[in-house]
């Protein structure tokens, strides 16, 4: 049990590294970050313009708008990360070779899923951090806190 989990981790690590350095993934990451950044900047501008509305801090109003953008575009990243996980190995014949080693099918799929999920987490963390940081840096000094 312990052994096969280690194998899964090894496969996950390989998958993560593969994803991380492929130009396709980088293109997607840059696009997604750009989109989230763009829309949060717009939300920051809007929040600055309208002023406090809902009793929230304005910054939180700015963040709230990011949710919609994330909801629209993040499924694309998820699908793009997952869609060739298994079929790539199968068509290139490397799945057969992999199975001649002492790993089982469940280790392989588990490792693939773990690796892709780590990549996904990285994408979300990077894009959210950049946008949140931008909102804090650019708009926070200009925006008055609401009086409670």
């Amino acid at each position: 049990m312990r052994r096969s989990f280690k194998n899964s981790i090894a496969i996950a690590q390989k998958e993560f590294a593969d994803n991380l350095w492929s130009p396709v993934f980088l293109a997607l990451l840059v696009t997604f970050t750009l989109i989230v950044f763009t829309f949060s900047y717009r939300n920051g501008l809007t929040a600055e313009h309208i002023g406090p509305q809902t009793g929230n801090t304005l910054l939180m109003d700015g963040f709230a708008g990011i949710v919609r953008t994330m909801g629209r575009f993040s499924p694309l990243i998820g699908i793009a990360l997952g869609f060739d996980a298994v079929i790539k190995e199968r068509t290139s014949g490397s799945l057969n070779v992999l199975l001649t080693h002492p790993v089982f099918r469940d280790n392989i799929i588990l490792g693939k899923i773990l690796g892709s999920m780590t990549t996904l987490a990285l994408v979300i963390v990077i894009s959210t951090t950049i946008s949140a940081g931008m909102l804090l840096l650019v708009f926070a000094p200009k925006i008055p806190m609401p009086s409670r």
């Binding site: 997607l28 696009t31 763009t38 900047y41 501008l45 313009h49």
Partner: protein, 300 residues
Amino acid sequence: MRKNFENALVIAQKEFADRLLSPRFIALLLICTIILFSFSYRAGMGGRNIFEKGFLDVAQIIALFLPMIGIAIGFDAIVKERKLSSLNVLLTHPVFRDTVIAGKLLGSMATLALVVGISVVVSVGTILVVTGVQVTAPELSRVLIFMILTFLYISTFLGIGVLVSIFSKSTTDSLIYGIVIWINLVIVFSAIVIMVASIATGQSYLELDDNQHVLDLNIKLQRFSPIHHYAETVTGHPSLSWGGVSVVRGNVGSSGIFDTGHTLEQWLWEYWTNLAVLIVTPIILFIVSIIIFLRRDITM
């Protein structure tokens, strides 16, 4: 020369037949037609006349989503053949590389013409039937011009798809690059542009008395995307992307191709620069694809 052209036609025919019968393509075409039909139906039920600014919603759907079809047609044109090694076999026959790529482009454009024809007939037809507007020859000629504009616009993305397909290592890479280009250049282009303009000028476009510079820069930057030129010629609005700022400034003349308040001559006079860009861009992309493909190492 004659023989070469005949060969290209044979390849084009094969390409067209391959595309037309592939389930992937049929699925895309169906989805696209359903989306267009439902939006046109809604626009028609809204009771707005297509020849009096009733076409904006549907034009936006066409401008945003049809480029995806162009990319879907183009993305595996070359890379598929290279991957399957069928390109090598093909080149052992007495055809040349330029014949191959010319045939591919011709076949893809024929498919594209079919798609654009279906989409325009579905969207405009639905609106016309639902609202019951009377249509005469001048209006039909406008629909025809709209069809040609859409074809040119989607051809640009076909060109991008084929170009990416020449560079890519595998079909999946090619598709994802195509999608990335589509999202950046079409879906969120205006939003990115207004963000860049705001940062560059330091003005907020929401401050109505102090947004001169940011809006000027916004309009200038938007000219880099084909969707701006398509939007101008069809609707008269500078932008149809999501989240953009589309402010019509100065004295505007007609509002696009369906504005029957202005003659076609006035329309042409007003939008000839946009029209020129729409015509020239796909031609340049096709020429670049041909040149690059001729010099490319095709052994994998």
